[in-house]
């Protein structure tokens, strides 16, 4: 196959297709994943190729979807459950956090739950307070759950393929604002390893750590800063939040002496807090400034496009924040 120009959405579909071709035990289940092709079109056509027994349209029963995936995973399948919006994770948190996450441990290592829960989050479609959230912190705080959040077309494919090889439950959160993003995918290239962060941009003045769509905002901010202020920001894409790859972050921060974390999730007790705390712990003696958290406001998301836009970091906001640090 080698290099193709494609979209985030199609790259995800390719990963699913190949995994299903390679292993009959891979099934997809969720609301509208079959005939409808997925609310965001990721699973379009898969039901035609793989049939109703492997691409399973479910009733609107999030808790049981996740619970059924847990059982399917224990019983020999490799389920990919889809949660249409990460905002619906609240209904599934018991099955996810008390069952999927703990089964291997509670049962003394007898069995794991090799499932992937695909979902999508984030702002950008005026979808309102219950369809625009970034709830990865709930997952990251739950021992036993892996957490992957692809930001690039390349990772939409490679990370999902990798997730489908994990022995433990993976929550895989896409961003609704990225599905139509175009990019180059090299299916043959050796991808960054599972659990490894990627340096997307070098820069000696500050290190910006981000993931998912905010990674692009961070990169855009870095461009602005380079152009307008001659500031060189390194930008790191975490790719997975569990495992968290600190080895990639540490040396860069030690060198730059300044770090910022950028996350779309609400600030308080969110992923940005963990990253800031961790960077501070590991790089304290090298820091010129406190690690700055640029994150979602501690408010629900409005349907008003104006309020929505400013409820989460924008490239302008990120570059402003860097300038504030470096002035």
């Amino acid at each position: 196959m080698a290099k193709i120009e494609t979209t985030y959405r199609d790259a995800l579909r390719l990963a699913l297709t190949e995994a299903m071709q390679a292993d009959d035990n891979v099934i997809i289940m969720g609301e509208e994943v079959g005939r409808y092709g997925g609310a965001y079109g990721v699973t379009k056509g898969l039901i035609d190729e793989f049939g109703e027994d492997r691409v399973i349209d479910t009733p609107i029963s999030e808790a049981a979807i996740v619970g059924a995936a847990v059982g399917a995973g224990m019983a020999g399948l490799r389920p990919v459950a889809e949660l249409m919006y990460v905002d619906f994770i609240g209904m599934t948190m018991d099955q996810l956090a008390n069952q999927a996450a703990k089964i291997r441990y509670m049962f003394g290592g007898q069995i794991g739950v090799p499932m992937v829960l695909r979902t999508q989050g984030g702002t950008g479609r005026s979808a309102g307070a219950q369809h625009s959230q970034s709830l990865e912190a709930y997952v990251m705080h739950t021992p036993g759950l892996r957490l992957a959040m692809p930001s690039t077309v390349d990772d939409a494919y490679h990370l999902l393929r990798q997730a489908l090889k994990q022995p433990d439950p993976v929550v895989f959160i896409e961003h609704k604002g990225l599905y139509t993003m175009k990019g180059t995918l090299d299916t043959d290239a050796e991808p960054a390893g599972w659990g490894k962060a990627r340096v997307m941009r070098e820069g000696a003045d500050i290190v910006i750590v981000s993931y998912s769509r905010q990674l692009h905002h961070a990169l855009a901010a870095a461009e602005i800063l380079a152009r307008e202020n001659g500031i060189q920001a390194a930008v790191i894409d975490l790719r997975t939040l569990n495992p968290l790859d600190f080895d990639t972050i540490r040396p860069l921060v030690e060198q730059a002496g300044r770090a910022m974390v950028v996350s779309e999730g609400a600030m308080t007790s969110g992923v940005a807090a963990e990253l800031a705390a961790r960077i501070t712990e590991e790089c304290f003696d090298f820091l010129e400034d406190p690690v700055v958290r640029v994150a979602g406001e501690d408010i629900p998301i409005s349907v008003s496009p104006l309020l929505e836009k400013h409820s989460v970091p924008t490239p302008e906001f990120i570059s402003d924040a860097v300038r504030m640090m470096l002035k």
Binding site: A64, A127, D298, H310
Partner: protein, 346 residues
């Protein structure tokens, strides 16, 4: 807003009132579609209740002052039939400051405490358990109010519906569950979502008074509703399924490729607005000209909602931090303020 129990006061027959109100709902929804096409709606998650007007109108006609209700993502018609101001609704759908929720809620989160509307919901089934609580409040505070949960057939997939029905029946609460069965949840036909589409049987098994009514005729809906609501008010919670057809796609962008045109054409024959109109004319209660005049009046009323919503202004950016907590409580600190403070080091 119709009060089916107080029609003597009105100058029209009940059916005429029903027609008028159903036409208002339909026309409003058509305008919502237009707002979207004109690029003036906040987003595209707009779910039109066209085809479901008898449910909204037939039930709301039996509500009383003090009654409360929750709705779902397809709830415009219900709120309108309960007496909402369509202009403020449209403004909300456009995400404007003048909307019911000042642009924070939008189509899926309209509410109005004055009319007992405890809120639309973007979570399928999310508004259902609230009516159990409202029913407890009615019981304990002896208000004689009924609380209504409106939801679609798809919500029967949500476990919380059964938990809520069980509580309502156990505590004999003045609660009414209204399931608008438009045959689809997004692209999934009801028989693709359950092995037994006779949804009211589930309610029966929990001890509710339950039945299904064909939504084609608003008078049938009104009658079934009147009976069950009277029971609910007396402490026998009830469940009413209203059979109808979702005329258009799930949301504005959905062209329903998963169902064929024959089915759609047939489904759209199940039109409660046309049915009421035909009845009014054939029975001689009203002339076609009279009805056309009403329709035109309504079209004008609803056209104005578009102009209004477009002309109104967006919410102020500073309102973003308001109403997370009650008035008087400190607002959450904006990220920018925090940064300025943190970085203002000596």
């Amino acid at each position: 807003m119709i009060d089916a129990n107080n029609e003597a006061a009105g100058k029209n027959s009940l059916l005429a009132d029903f027609y008028r109100e159903m036409r208002r709902v339909r026309t409003f929804e058509e305008r919502v579609g237009e707002l979207f096409v004109r690029g003036q709606s906040a987003g595209s998650m707009l779910h039109l209740s066209i085809g479901e007007e008898s449910a909204a109108v037939g039930i709301c006609a039996n509500m009383r002052d003090g009654d409360t209700f929750t709705t779902h993502h397809r709830g415009h018609g219900i709120f309108l039939a309960r007496g909402a101001d369509p202009a403020r609704m449209m403004a909300e759908i456009a995400g404007k400051e003048a909307g019911y929720c000042h642009g924070k809620g939008g189509s899926m989160h309209i509410a109005d405490m004055g009319l007992g509307h405890l809120g639309a919901n973007a979570i399928v089934g999310g508004g259902i358990p609230a009516v159990v609580g409202a029913g407890l409040a009615a019981r304990n505070r002896k208000t004689n109010a009924v609380s209504f949960a409106f939801f679609g057939d798809g919500a029967t997939g949500q476990g919380i519906l059964y938990e809520s029905m069980n509580m309502a029946a156990l505590w004999k609460l003045p609660v009414m569950f209204v399931c608008i069965n438009n045959q689809y949840g997004m692209g999934t036909r009801i028989d693709q979502a359950t092995a037994n589409p006779n949804l009211h049987e589930r309610a029966e098994a929990f001890g509710l008074a339950a039945r299904t009514v064909d939504g084609l005729d608003v008078e049938d809906v009104n009658e079934a509703a009147a009976e069950l609501i009277a029971g609910a008010r007396a402490g026998q919670p009830a469940f009413l399924v209203i059979d109808c057809y979702r005329f258009f796609g799930h949301a504005r962008k959905d062209k329903s490729p998963y169902r064929d045109e024959t089915e759609e054409a047939e489904g759209r024959l199940k039109d409660p607005v046309i049915r009421a109109r035909d009845k009014l004319i054939s029975s001689g209660m009203m002339s076609e000209a009279d009805l056309d005049a009403w329709d035109a009046e309504i079209a004008t009323e609803m056209d104005a909602t578009i102009d209004f919503s477009i002309a109104e202004k967006e919410p102020q950016l500073s309102s973003m931090y308001r109403d997370v907590y009650a008035p008087g409580e400190p607002e959450p600190e904006p990220v920018r303020t925090r940064l300025e403070r943190v970085l203002a080091r000596e």
